[in-house]
Symmetry: C2
């Protein structure tokens, strides 16, 4: 997919900026067909993960819309830096154990079954509790990228 | 964000179709600034899930780049339909139990720790095994929507 800006000079000195994500030139006697995901490839990929401290699935599964990692912090450990993101929102799900996140200075306690969405700009850091490790999934997606989902995007056979 | 098609009639009967995802009208003496995720809102949302058969997180967490569901099929049960997608790739992770997927007629056995990415067009159906239920996460994202991730998208404090 090619992304570009198209700038159109209007009267009175205004500019109309169009952020163009798809450009298709077709003769007028052909039907317009847009195939998302038209790359020829197998329709699925599969991997199996074990007990590693951090697994990243983007390469393993040839993901195109997300990075997904499974992370394990032992008791007393923490991610050794604070970070934010440029474009991506992150969704964290606690699979087991206990710990906390500090988001923009606010402390949020976390245990199994908790889910968090964190906006790109927020500064975040994750910690296991002192007496229990924590295992969590982190899903990284581009903010505002989802257009339709479930019933609106599904085709039932 | 507003999405629309702009059709421009060219000479000789051709059409130029522009898929416009951002349109910004600014005076020519102002600097163009595009802020992804510029909506003013809390920088995170949190929810806790329990033992329900299916939980959808999009509304609960105000997700903008994914729909995420946690699904549980009891032993012997299956999703009662075959489906594919228009735009979205799906990533499935088996959190516990055993079962199988049938993808475009191919049977894939599934157990804890297995992860699958399924392309939009693939026809899929999920089954618990006859002797064990299966719990899985399903992550729906727009195919080809992720531009940068992890080191390229992160800002370390």
């Amino acid at each position: 997919m090619t992304h570009s800006f198209l700038s159109v000079q209007l009267q009175k000195g205004a500019h109309l900026f169009l952020y163009v994500s798809h450009t298709i030139l077709i003769p007028s006697n052909q039907k317009l067909q847009i195939n998302y995901g038209g790359t020829i490839m197998a329709n699925y990929t599969k991997t199996t993960i074990g007990k590693e401290n951090r697994i990243e699935l983007h390469e393993k599964l040839s993901l195109t819309g997300a990075e997904i990692s499974i992370n394990e912090l032992p008791a007393g450990a923490n991610v050794p830096f604070v970070h934010s993101h440029k474009e991506n929102e992150e969704i964290y799900g606690i699979l087991s154990g206990n710990g906390k996140a500090i988001i923009d200075g606010e402390e949020i306690s976390l245990s199994t079954g908790d889910w968090l969405k964190i906006a790109p700009a927020a500064k975040r850091q994750f910690f296991a509790s002192d007496i229990s490790g924590i295992t969590y999934i982190c899903i990284q997606v581009k903010e505002n990228s989802l257009e339709h989902f479930t019933a609106e995007d599904a085709v039932i056979d």
